[in-house]
């Protein structure tokens, strides 16, 4: 695995400290700190991600190490590289390419709020899948137009099944 990039910044630091970027491929030279006895001294919690984060496969975490509260992002290195390239160049790839939303949990579709051709906003509810007696909403990762709805209420879905595409 060499395709993830991790960025860690100290919570609250506005200036004077460069963010640390570690490519997993070249992390070998960093000494491993901490002993087994203090394994719980590093704790990771996910944070809310924006629609843009989700669209770009970026995850945000709060990592607490020995009481230091750190902000971290994890994203595919290839996307990070593309994003950096896009930021340098005039054209931006990504935001307007079609998005296929797939089931992340097996379950039963219990609600469908949108239909073909509907304009949706980022974060808008599209449909809900019930699993383990919990309704899990699927929301639009960005604004767009519904290109297709592949499922109907009552239908059972497996992980990876296509649900909706956004154009």
């Amino acid at each position: 695995m060499s395709d993830v990039r991790v960025r860690v910044t100290i919570h609250g630091f506005e200036h004077g400290f460069e963010p640390i970027a570690v490519e997993s491929g070249d992390a070998g030279d960093a000494p491993v700190v901490g002993t087994a006895a203090r394994a719980t001294a590093v704790r990771v919690r996910s944070k809310a991600s924006s629609a843009a984060d989700r669209a770009e496969g970026r995850e945000r975490y709060e990592v607490v190490v020995d009481g230091w509260v750190l902000d971290a992002t994890v994203e595919p290195a290839v996307l990070a590289a593309l994003r950096e390239k896009a930021a340098r160049g005039p054209s931006e790839a990504g935001p307007h390419s079609p998005v296929s939303l797939r089931a992340q949990i097996p379950g039963r579709v219990v609600r469908v709020w949108v239909g073909l051709g509907d304009a949706v906003e980022a974060g808008q509810q599209l449909l809900a899948v019930e699993a383990m007696k919990m309704e899990n909403e699927v929301r639009a990762p960005r604004a767009g137009t519904v290109g297709s709805v592949a499922v109907a209420i009552g239908q059972t879905v497996e992980v990876g099944d296509e649900l909706v595409t956004l154009g």
Partner: protein, 528 residues
């Protein structure tokens, strides 16, 4: 439901000192006092600002009264409103906690004028001790050694007057401190190393004191380098009996703000302890002290003891003395305020105080960033998990999801441990710190993690400038950032085979999935 609980408490405790007490404070200390009230069979009334409407201390109280908007000047510092609330709720006494109105003689007097018992020393005692110069004169007259310095406020209006001050300073010797006669907490205090710095230091200390306490008067004190801060817990009843139930070391400070405290003060002989307690009692008797107070001293490297001041109230760090002495100081304050004599338990604790047989440590967990000079960090506590287990006590005023306001003191909780001796207490504190987990905003936890592994602290080489000389956070947070990155990479590698492929065409992964896997992984690590 609350009323039923209050009724049953009254039934359970015979001979409660009061029926109902108003707590004129907020946060962890308000909750601490409410707990003592309930154990003593007393109903507790909380007063609160809008910022604290849903706070744990408000919910713990039997009655809650809103007294104003968030700023302290419009709520917790409005003595007249608090007295009105006490009367309206049928309270018989007012406990002021620490800070806010706790040492204001005018507030204590207005409580008494309204027929309420002020739980603390008499108003006259607060006047005598509130002015540091008066306290210095009192101690000096009682034969208690004070820090060398002036007995009068400085008059620096003219060049001739300034010349007189410089002469006084030269006589005292450099370096020295310009100190405000009012207040505390390090405000209105300046270090001066030579005559050139003196006029500027006097001007800025005066301005700061005026802004903080409404009194600009300052005086000079010699700076005793390498000194420790030790203080003695005092309790007194209405019949004039006063005892010392032990001392604390509070040398771990940053700009005169205490960060960690312990009891007993390590490394003292029985003779030194007895001497300290005797000096504290001498000052206390001179001012007719009753209820609870703390006499503060500097302990010089050569063993000399210098009286600093008396804090005529409950101290933030009273808990370490409670853990070592076995006395519930707040409950004792309640019975003493009701006019009852010192309990047998307190008198026994006083007898044992020169020969302590256990050790307690406290660290203050505050919403402050120790990497940025302990700047306050308001925000939301997105995660809050307290330490537990044997010998651990947490006095906390917050809970998960709470917003930490910039309006008030950033103290969130006090983590205390007690064990048979100091090394065991330190080991217990290290273990408890590893258990304590806070997310959402930066706290002082990393400082305490460092402190409990710092050589001078471990060896008991305590001095008030330990933090200023040794605390350098950058290598610590850089190391923390690297460890965080390593952990995230390891987690990403682990879940990569199962995770749906990420492609540049924009297939979306559900972030919760990643988190769920991390949570499982963390769970596995905790239970190998």
């Amino acid at each position: 439901m609350r009323k039923d609980a209050a009724r049953s408490r009254r039934r359970e405790v015979r001979d409660a000192p009061f029926r109902r007490v108003l707590v004129a404070n907020r946060g962890e200390i308000a909750l601490r006092i409410i707990r003592a009230c309930h154990e003593a069979g007393i109903e507790a009334v909380a007063v609160h600002s809008d910022a604290d409407a849903g706070a744990p201390f408000v919910r713990a109280a039997d009655v809650a009264v809103r007294i104003g908007p968030p700023p302290a000047a419009e709520s917790y510092l409005r003595g007249a409103l608090i007295v009105d609330a006490a009367i309206a709720t049928g309270s018989q006494a007012v406990h002021p906690g620490y800070g806010f109105l706790s040492e204001q003689a005018a507030f204590a007097a207005s409580c008494e004028a309204a027929g309420l018992v002020f739980i603390g020393p008499a108003p006259e005692t607060l006047v005598a001790l509130g002015d540091k110069l008066a306290a210095r004169r009192t101690a000096d007259e009682a034969g208690v050694p004070i820090v060398p310095g002036t007995f009068e406020a400085l008059e620096s209006g003219s060049p001739a007057a300034m010349k007189g001050i410089v002469d006084k300073a030269e006589a005292l010797g450099w370096p020295l401190l310009v100190k405000a006669t009012a207040g505390g907490g390090g405000r209105g205090m300046r270090r001066v190393d030579d005559a050139g710095e003196l006029p500027g230091a006097i001007a800025s200390a005066s301005r700061e004191a005026q802004a903080a306490f409404g009194l600009s008067a300052v005086y000079l004190e010699r700076l005793i380098e390498g000194a420790r801060h030790v203080e003695v817990q005092l309790l007194g009843d209405h019949e004039g009996r006063i005892v010392a139930i032990g001392e604390r070391d509070c040398s771990v400070q940053r700009r005169h703000q205490k960060l960690a405290e312990e009891a007993p003060a390590p490394g003292l002989s029985e003779g030194q302890r007895r001497n300290l307690h005797r000096l504290a009692l001498t000052v206390a008797r001179k001012v007719g002290l009753r209820n609870a107070a703390t006499a503060e001293f500097l302990l010089a490297p050569n063993g000399d003891v210098h009286f600093l001041e008396v804090n005529a109230r409950l101290q933030v760090e009273h808990g370490v003395t409670e853990l070592v002495s076995g006395v519930d100081i707040v409950r004792e304050q309640l019975t003493l305020a009701a006019g009852r004599p010192l309990s047998a338990e307190v008198r026994r604790a006083a007898d044992r105080a020169p020969l302590p047989d256990s050790h307690a440590i406290e660290v203050r967990i505050s919403a402050e960033d120790p990497a940025r000079d302990f700047a306050p960090v308001p925000g939301v506590l997105s995660y809050w998990h307290e330490a537990g287990g044997p010998g651990v006590r947490v006095d906390s005023g917050v809970e998960e999801g709470m917003r930490v306001s910039a309006e008030y003191d950033p103290l969130l909780a006090k983590l205390l441990v007690v064990a048979g001796d100091r090394p065991k207490a330190m080991a217990r504190m290290r273990r408890a710190l590893d258990e304590f987990h806070i997310g959402g905003l930066q706290t002082t936890l990393p400082f305490h993690q460092w402190l409990l592994r710092q050589r001078d602290f471990i060896d008991g080489r305590l001095r008030t400038d330990l933090v200023a000389r040794s605390w350098s956070p950058r290598p610590l947070w850089e190391d923390a950032a690297r460890r965080a990155a390593e952990r995230l990479i390891a987690l990403a590698e682990e879940r990569s085979p199962a995770a749906p492929a990420l492609s540049t065409t924009g297939t979306v992964t559900e972030p919760e999935r990643g988190w769920a896997m991390i949570a499982r992984r963390e769970g596995v690590e905790r239970w190998p």
